[in-house]
Every structure is written in structure tokens, then in C-alpha cells.
């Protein structure tokens, strides 16, 4: 396989006629609006284009070819049928501003998706408009804030966030004008309830939790936490990042949550990772219902209609120009329709079974677990601190060396509180053979760490690019190709 591939503009010297999108100037454009320079287009033939993009796809690491223990956080396997049906010509050609009567089929899909997500979360109503998980969070906390303000309770500005939380949680609270108060986690992975009680009070707006938590364990005191927060007048926000573990098994509403965001792209079948597209649908209980972002699909007199600001005057407003990421919503709709209630439970069954199997195998192979006394949810944490102390080989070196063995690295160095950690999420679709091979690779790498550490510290050896300079990439990012030939004037 070719290990490098030039940028398409670098295919020079070809005698091909450059592609020009418009051969004739449209008659209705004024003279001064016409460009004077020739349009810069790659000078390539069709075959060169095909080879270029095929080679790039071969250089890419993909879940279509290999194991990807980053899990649903970045990419679980997404059934092909979801994408195929979302790409039906009627969906693709639909204009977002088309009149309601011309989009009834599409709107029915969204309406039914809203209903299915209500069932999955137990919430009273769902809005599909947030276009990313972070936007769903923003909507959730904005609704909490709007609720307190509407009651003349404007001093409630504190949002409580566990120290193990995703970085987006405190960022969201800050963006909503709230003050972040951190609460500690106990060594067993559960929240420090005593510490929480000392923080709670008349300034508490709410608490943001993921359950199972970012530590890969189910928060066992969730009912006590919910009671304590509600007792002081605060609300509970559920970050749906780890919904894969509880799908069809337990409803966020039964844990006491008032508002939920669901990462449709993570749990419900959209290829993502690397920046989108996403969907952070939000669901709320009765108290927050008036504040849901618009538009929302409603059914009136047998027809589907958009409910907007005129129907919901207390809404926090719009989070996207139209109604969210249509493609992601449609893929989620197909996925949920195909799974049904029973299929959804099987997702959670196998996601947690695979994680617990892998965790047990690694523990039996003497890998150190961050929470050895706890059952895994859909993911779990291994700490390599002993190996690092003995050999100097770090979690990052293991991660890079896994690439040489045809496996993607799990998440490294998150959560931050666990030193030299790997956060491993195999997902529901992997086979036992793949999981066994992953264990064998980690065992082999640990032996190498003691016998020939350099093999790991210089890894990867067989990938298209070797170890990248993270520091330089962060400090001096080089994002633009500046070698483009200067366009020639007409």
C-alpha cells in the first residue's frame, strides 16, 4: 500500500483540462461581480480523482476494517441500513423551508422519533433541534436557568459538576451564566454525598451528572442524590453520553432527572468522531416543558405541524436554523425502529457484557483496574501506573503500539484523576474473538515494556505516519496548504 498521498492540488504537470464549473457567464450578474482570476481547481483526470480518494480511504483507520475500543464516544458500528434509508431521494431533495404539507413523511419520522426518545428517557417531551451534544447541554442548562428565573429565583446560579465530569459540563454551565461548583468523587467511584450536601443550598440551580459516570461505573446513590438536590430546589440534568449502557434498562426519569440530552450520533447510529455531524436531542419533565427549544413537531387534526415561538412563548429559542441535523435524526429514527424495545435492551446487554468480559480477562491477566471492586458499565478503566513506574513506558506508548497491531487505541488519560489510564469501551457489536485478541495484544505489549521498552516508546512503526509531535501540533498548528499555484489572470 502507498503510505503517502499528495494533496490533490499537488497533482501537477498533468495535461488534463482543468474542470471549470461554469463554462458560460450567467447573464444576470453585473460585470463588477464577476471574478477576474481563473478559478483554482485541481488539474486531475477522473481516474486520478478516484485513485486519490481511494488511497486516502486506505490510509485512514476505520471501524469497517478494525477494532475501535474508543467506543460509542467516538464511533460504534453503525448499521448500513440506517444511512441508506436516511439517503432516500425524498429526504435528500427535501428543502427545509418547504411547506408543511409537502414534508408530512419527514415530519412523521421526526414526530415518531420524539415519541421514541420520550420512551427511552421517560421524559414528558423531546426537542430534536440541538445539533451536537454540547448544544444539547447548553439547551438543558438554559432551560434550568429559565425555569428558576420564571419563578423569580434568579439567585440560583450554581451548577454542581462532579470532578470526573466531561469538560463540556463546566463549560456549558459557564456559557449559561452559571457558577461551576465541583464535587468530589469517592475512591470507589461514587459521588461523595456528604461533600454534595455541604454544597447544596438556596443558590443551587442544579447538578449535571452522567450515569453510568465517566468512570465507567453506575452511580449507586443516584436516588439519594436526586432527593438531596430536589430538597433544596435544584434540578437534575442527565448527560446522555453513556446512554449505551442503560438503553431500555432504566429510565433517566426513574433516577430522578428533570432534563436529559441524548447524543443521537453516539448511541443511535451516525458515523461521527472528528467533529460531527451530531445531534443532542433534549427531553424534559413537565416542569421544564414550556422552555424546550423550537421547532418541535406536533400533530394537529391528523397533520404534522411545526410548533414555534408563537405556540411556545416561553421557549429558550432556536439552536439551529431549521430543525436540527436532518440526516442524524433520520438515522436515529431508522435505528430505533429496527431495534424496537427488545433490540434496545440487547444493545445494553451486549455493550455491558462485552465490557465486563474484557475487564475480567484483563484483571485475570494482572492488569490493574481503577475500580476493581466495581462492575463495569459499558466501559471501564485500566491504570498502567505500575508498568510506568517500573519501566517508564506510558499509557500513550501502549496506545501507539496498539496501532501497530491493527487495533485502535482506547481513550487515554481520561478521566484525568486516574494516572496512566486507558478507558476501554468495546461496544455491543464486537465478537469474543476480537476481544480475546485485544487482551492478547495488551499482554504482549506489557511483556515488551519490560523486555524491550523502546519498541513501545518509539511506536507506531507500521502506520502511514509515525509518532506525531503533539506539542508542536498544539502550539503551531499548520492547517492550511499554502503551496497552491497562484491563479493566472484572464
Amino acid at each position: 500500500m502507498t503510505m503517502t498521498e499528495p494533496i490533490i492540488f499537488e497533482y501537477r504537470g498533468s495535461r488534463r483540462q482543468p474542470f471549470t464549473p461554469l463554462s458560460e457567464v450567467p447573464a444576470n450578474l453585473p460585470e463588477d461581480a464577476l471574478r477576474q482570476d481563473q478559478l483554482l481547481m485541481p488539474q486531475v483526470s477522473e481516474l486520478q480523482v478516484v485513485r486519490h480518494y481511494t488511497r486516502l480511504s486506505q490510509l485512514n483507520y476505520s471501524i469497517d476494517t478494525n477494532f475501535y475500543p474508543l467506543g460509542s464516544c467516538t464511533m460504534k458500528y453503525n448499521p448500513r441500513i440506517c444511512n441508506r434509508l436516511a439517503m432516500l431521494p425524498g429526504f435528500l431533495a427535501r428543502h427545509p423551508l418547504a411547506p408543511e404539507e409537502q414534508g408530512q413523511g419527514f415530519m412523521q419520522c421526526l414526530f415518531e422519533l420524539q415519541q421514541m426518545l420520550q420512551q427511552v428517557t421517560g421524559m414528558a417531551e423531546v426537542s430534536l433541534t440541538p445539533m451536537a451534544g454540547a448544544q444539547g447541554e447548553l439547551a438543558g442548562v438554559a432551560m434550568i436557568r429559565a425555569y428558576h428565573l420564571s419563578r423569580g429565583d434568579g439567585d440560583r446560579r450554581q451548577i454542581i459538576v462532579p470532578d470526573a465530569a466531561h469538560g463540556t459540563n463546566p463549560a456549558t454551565a459557564t456559557m449559561c451564566g452559571c457558577e461551576v461548583v465541583e464535587v468530589a468523587t469517592r475512591p470507589d467511584g461514587d459521588l461523595d454525598l456528604d461533600a454534595l450536601r455541604t454544597i447544596l443550598g438556596p443558590k443551587t440551580a442544579g447538578i449535571m451528572l452522567t450515569n453510568p459516570s465517566t468512570l465507567g461505573v453506575f452511580e449507586r446513590q443516584i436516588e439519594a442524590i436526586a432527593a438531596a438536590v430536589h430538597d433544596v430546589g435544584g434540578l437534575l440534568y442527565y448527560d446522555g453520553a453513556n446512554l449505551n449502557a442503560i438503553l431500555g434498562k432504566i429510565l433517566p426519569v426513574d433516577m430522578g432527572f428533570d432534563v436529559v440530552h441524548v447524543n443521537l450520533h453516539k448511541t443511535f447510529s451516525t458515523p461521527h468522531g472528528g467533529g460531527g455531524p451530531g445531534s443532542g436531542a433534549v427531553g424534559v419533565g413537565e416542569r421544564l416543558r414550556p422552555y424546550l427549544p423550537v421547532p418541535i413537531v406536533e400533530r394537529r387534526d391528523g397533520a404534522y405541524v411545526w410548533a414555534d415561538e408563537s405556540d411556545r412563548p416561553q421557549t429558550i429559542g432556536r439552536l439551529s436554523t431549521y430543525m436540527g441535523n436532518a440526516g442524524v435524526l433520520l438515522r436515529a429514527y431508522v435505528y430505533l425502529r429496527m431495534l424496537g424495545d427488545e433490540g434496545m435492551q440487547r444493545v445494553a446487554d451486549f455493550a455491558t457484557l462485552n465490557a465486563n468480559y474484557l475487564m475480567t480477562c484483563l484483571a485475570e491477566a494482572d492488569f490493574e483496574l481503577a475500580f476493581p471492586e466495581r462492575r463495569a458499565s459499558h466501559e471501564f478503566i485500566v491504570t498502567l501506573k505500575k508498568v510506568t513506574r517500573d519501566t517508564g513506558v506510558k499509557a500513550m506508548d501502549f496506545a501507539k503500539a496498539l496501532l501497530d497491531r491493527g487495533m485502535h487505541a482506547p481513550t487515554t488519560y481520561f478521566p484525568l484523576m486516574v494516572p496512566e489510564c486507558l478507558l476501554i469501551e468495546p461496544t455491543e457489536t464486537e465478537s469474543k474473538q476480537v476481544l480475546d485478541a485485544f487482551v492478547a495484544s495488551l499482554v504482549e505489549l506489557r511483556e515488551l515494556a519490560y523486555s524491550d521498552p523502546q519498541q513501545l516508546t518509539t511506536a507506531p512503526h507500521s502506520t502511514p505516519v509515525r509518532r506525531l509531535d503533539d506539542v508542536r501540533a498544539a502550539k503551531h498548528p499548520d492547517l492550511a496548504w499554502r503551496g497552491a499555484p497562484k491563479p493566472t489572470s484572464k
Binding site: K385, T412, Y413, L416, P419, D470, V471, A474, K475
Partner: protein
Amino acid sequence: MIEAPDNLKYTEAHEWLRLEDDGTVTLGITDHAQQALGELVFVDVPDAGDSFEVGDACAVVESVKAASDVYCPLAGTVTEANPALGDQPELINSGPYVEGWILRLEPQNPEYLEDMLDAEAYQQLVAGAED
């Protein structure tokens, strides 16, 4: 074994403090903290004149692994922040106790320094966390 000079005071959040002759206190993060963070790529320091209460986030250190707040262990007003860190955050990696200092402040209660960890207690804290 990490480095932790005897003439400094330490916090459980892995900061060090040094009382200067002029009564100000210099603050930075420890050798252990810089090792755990890895190579730093960005440091956000406060302006001279900024005031902090105990526990306020007074600086941000960002590495290839993580971004982390530095919490002010003493209430006071910043007299000076390390101007070199803007261009060379890696100074914290190369010399966390020397060229990698983060800020100096005029403490409200310099006597609280006495209650902080000494080098031996800090070394024990770090060793305990690693077991």
C-alpha cells in the same frame, strides 16, 4: 522519586509556595504535577492587581493531555505573573521550581503558609497516591 525542595511549602493540589524576603509569595506547580500533566502547551496567567480568595482558579495550565486550573491556596493580590510562560509554557516542565514559576502575590494572611505541607509531607502524599 519526584523533586520537592525543602525550602518550599506545598498543597494537596500540587502547588508550591515560597515566601520571599519582601513578604510576597511565589507560586508554581510541583514537579509531580508537571510530570502528570506532560508537556505543557499553554499557560494562562492572571494580571498584576488581580485579587483571589482561597480556592479561586488563578491560572490555567494546559498540556497535550489535559487542561487544569491552578487554585490559589492563599488569598491575596497578584504583584507579578511570569511573563515568559506566554511564549514558553514548557519552562514549567524544565524547571517547575525555578524558571517555571507562575505568579507572585501579596498575601492577606502570610501566616497561613505555616499550615501547608512541608517537603517531606508532600513527598508522602505523592507516594501514597501512587500506591
